[in-house]
Symmetry: C2
Subunit: 138 residues, 2 copies
């Protein structure tokens, strides 16, 4: 299965991650080519391992209390290009190729579409796809 | 005081921020010119307001349980160029001009100097300054 290589992750790799009291670290997701910040999500140990094993970004949803692979419903998978951690080991940085060019669940290319301008949040860019187009009728 | 303009922040700006159970949001700090991710820190409501009021990045230290302005000891201030929030309002993105070109307390230009390569974390770049040079003898 070339799409899901089973790699073994040395304990020394996980040892450098400082998960919080809930067993989570924030993961910043950055476009590997443009350096645009796409989104932020959370990872538990299993999500981190699954990301390395599949080569696709996997997270842990704090609201749904469950694992998810980005794009498994919408097709907008994030193909892993690089993994970094910060000096304290409590933040993960993923550089990815964003399939479909849409990272945000609102259908926008990234989640940071609101910008502070003259004392108000303005929406800087509009959805590329609607929720129905991304996830089908519900 | 041109360096510390007192601006009033409308309640509607703060209302869009979703602070966590501890009253904090993570703030991603990105170089306004290169889009390089410099660091991640935490903000409470006061740090967010102080950042807008001073035009310099201010945070809340979870370990020291106190407010800090980035660069107040080292001189490596972060001059605010842009503020964004994500779709859920629970992550802040600051675009800044990093004075001195050093964002990390280790003396490196950013905190994400460790990269996963062949099953190990490698250190990709070295400190520009030592701790003694940055903070003086202690």
């Amino acid at each position: 299965m070339s799409e899901s290589p089973q790699i073994s992750v040395p304990a020394s790799v996980l040892d450098q991650l400082a998960f919080d009291a809930n067993g989570l670290v924030p993961a910043i997701v950055q476009d590997a080519v443009t350096n645009e910040i796409l989104m932020v999500a959370w990872m538990d140990r299993a999500a981190f391992l699954r990301t390395l094993e599949t080569g696709k970004a996997c997270y842990y949803s704090r609201s749904r209390k469950s694992a998810w692979m980005k794009g498994e419903s919408s097709g907008h998978l994030q193909i892993l290009r690089e993994v970094r951690i910060d000096c304290d080991g409590d933040v993960v940085l993923l550089k990815v190729e964003q399939l479909g060019g849409i990272a945000c669940h609102t259908g926008r290319r990234n989640c940071f579409f609101r910008k502070l301008e003259d004392g108000a949040w303005i929406t800087e860019f509009e959805p590329i796809k609607s929720a129905a187009e991304m996830y089908g009728e519900r």
